[in-house]
Symmetry: C2
Amino acid sequence: MSTYEDLMGFTRETQALAQVAGRLDWDQETMMPRGAAPQRGEEAAAMASVLHARRIDPKVGAWLAALDGVELDETAAAQLRHIRRSYDRTSKVPAKLAARIARVTSEGQGIWAEARRTEDVALFLPVLKEIIALRVEEAQALSGGGPLYDALLDDYEPGTTGPELEMMFGALRPELANLRAAALEAPAPPELTGHFDDALQMTLTRTLAERFGYDLQHGRVDKAVHPFSSGSGLDVRITTRTNPTDPFNCFYSTIHEVGHATYEQNISRDYLLTPLGQGVSMGVHESQSRIYENQIGRSRAFTGWLYGQMRDTFGDFGIADEEAFYACVNRVSDGFIRTEADELQYNLHVLLRFDLERALISGDLAVDDLEAAWNDRFAADFGFAVDKPSNGVLQDVHWSVGLFGYFPTYSLGNVYAGCLKEAMRAAVPDLDGALAEGNTAPATNWLRDTVQTHGGLYEARDLITRACGAEPSEAPLLAYLKEKFGVIYNL
Amino acid sequence: MSTYEDLMGFTRETQALAQVAGRLDWDQETMMPRGAAPQRGEEAAAMASVLHARRIDPKVGAWLAALDGVELDETAAAQLRHIRRSYDRTSKVPAKLAARIARVTSEGQGIWAEARRTEDVALFLPVLKEIIALRVEEAQALSGGGPLYDALLDDYEPGTTGPELEMMFGALRPELANLRAAALEAPAPPELTGHFDDALQMTLTRTLAERFGYDLQHGRVDKAVHPFSSGSGLDVRITTRTNPTDPFNCFYSTIHEVGHATYEQNISRDYLLTPLGQGVSMGVHESQSRIYENQIGRSRAFTGWLYGQMRDTFGDFGIADEEAFYACVNRVSDGFIRTEADELQYNLHVLLRFDLERALISGDLAVDDLEAAWNDRFAADFGFAVDKPSNGVLQDVHWSVGLFGYFPTYSLGNVYAGCLKEAMRAAVPDLDGALAEGNTAPATNWLRDTVQTHGGLYEARDLITRACGAEPSEAPLLAYLKEKFGVIYNL
């Protein structure tokens, strides 16, 4: 077993270094003095280069070869599966190509930000073309002749394929579009108005974080421009933001990030600083953040408790009762922006991107035609026209940093959350009774024990199937959304 | 020149990684959640291991060999001198010994903390013996038959020797002891009483930091248990602390750390992320922190301005006028603790440690006799007895983490500060006029241009000689202290 232990010792050190690199990113978004940016760029590049060298280290290849065919227990076999996948993927991409992708995507983000600021799509297209060409080249190196898009998807959601997602999402899209139209035709719920003190928002946000099981002995809450969760194991930090007229933004960003963060915190400590010691895929990660945020956090029962908390914190804020508050939290309204979309419309935004990016990678859609394709699709699904690029094709950073195959994991996470919510309702008695008292433990403990604790032990799809007792499908999500918004909007 | 560029490219990446490791330490003292400590230990160890491997990388040896005898300009020659010194030192210490030192000193700190907490010297002695034996073994590997203590000193103050310091410090000790006794016999200046709001202390501390030229675009101020400065180049952060009854602790800790931090910030940007891009030695570093803190910050002129600031901030705090405030800031009183000592007595504390640690390394003093030796020496220099180990031999962390040869750099820094202050007074017209208005720019700009900007270009002693136009000596420090405390205490 000494070969396995040597490999794991080396891997553990690599994992520790990856945590350091992640902490550096956290620092950059929260603490770093502005003027440090150029130096930080070199520091981050040096860490990336160390990590890359370790991931393709010939020692790893030799250890893997020596362990080929050796019988291992379930845990060791799973560790090896992750290490082999990472080694194979990293080794297949020529160093020169990897370096070019790193350089071009680093430039791409700056160009995209400038293009978005000046509403100038043409400024962004040349670098986008280059990014797509490079990622296609990478996908060719990775795919072994298989579908290019699946090779990219594999970075974020190993084991899932484009056609599988296409089938799920294809079933969702018309139903969501219909539900959306119906809700927008019905009388609108009340809107939140008034001013909500920043410090009080942060106090209540910390209460919410702890209510959802976030462990502040192994984490911390700071403010950042974009909320995120960072780190694994014993040090998992989140950020949130405040907006004086929109406290829901703060509260539900926090609950969302707490979903990500408690997933990392609740992974079995046996897996600390190993490949199993992290969330298994982006889709499963998003399932945790979304089920915390939506199926639990925006439920009738929990919003009842939150209404009382908000009254205690802010006094009368103009919403008459729990029912009105529930409708207000789940208000459906027109909007251009994915990240601001409500639970009902969110997946329509993602599906748009999924379809367009597959067409970009396959070459069916030329980059020059992207804006028109975006605007046509948006008008078809949302019934009104994009008014400017920053509200359309330039709104997301993802493509500018080379993230192709990432968007669908958002909706896959929602699909998984739908499945998990159905299974949880069946397994946990009187969930709503607890939620109505602000007690999320029955829900979050069930998620901890069926999903989170396993870390990377099972493949994503397998993990969800084990937790739910059934193969994942879009049906539970759809049924849940129809039922929920049917009640709120009297459909 | 391509060999030189290859070497510098590799070195630059190493420097960037060293900055990351430093940032990790900063995070640990300021931001890290408590429960993260075990994981952080592994992260820091992984970074240390990466850095160690790069410092003894055979590539570096080959580049250095290829550059041997090649003519280089002054800057490149200085870069090479630093790289060669680091490579030679790191390579001379067997990997096994380095690993044992790392392990034992890491244990040592915990044992020391427990011994200090329980006032149990015997608990600490076994690990201290081991640490000394290991560092002696290291010194033997490094010294090439020369003096062992100098080999250790070389880690912190390259180019300075034990006998040189012995001569300087030997001249200081009796004079300081006499001055101390005289001051303590004279009527005592007023003491600060009352309560000083924490938030107001932090506001004034930020003002002070900026007044001393600290650039908050490339730094930040946080609270920590022990004040420190961290980082080089474009990201140099400081910490301070507050004590409701002792605002001077906050203000002068801040000014001290700002001295360290502006030194790093003011090094020529041409040297960013190279061996020249850092303070050249611990002694020179301490000269900057001490001249900011004492010769400038505790001067009659500057304290006059500070008195007004404190009145504006806290209202009447019981000190009648600027003269009384100046005496109060520079009050000499009995105390056991080095870090709390006033400017007059501080070096007596350091000299005690310098003499004892040289005797420990040479074997003239047995570890079992250390406490008695400490207590005897303390009684001789300070005229009263140590009451408990935490006020005596267990008060400092240094030896428990293997720092032998470090203490004297504190007093060397004070000696250098004395020299620099004399030269600065001669070079800068109406320094006191500016300081009386809270304007430190004439002083700090002179230090920037004569000392700080050069980074590691010159050896420490050479740098001070160039700045002052004379070889360093203890005489200016002594003359300054005699004059200053002579006035305050009417001696």
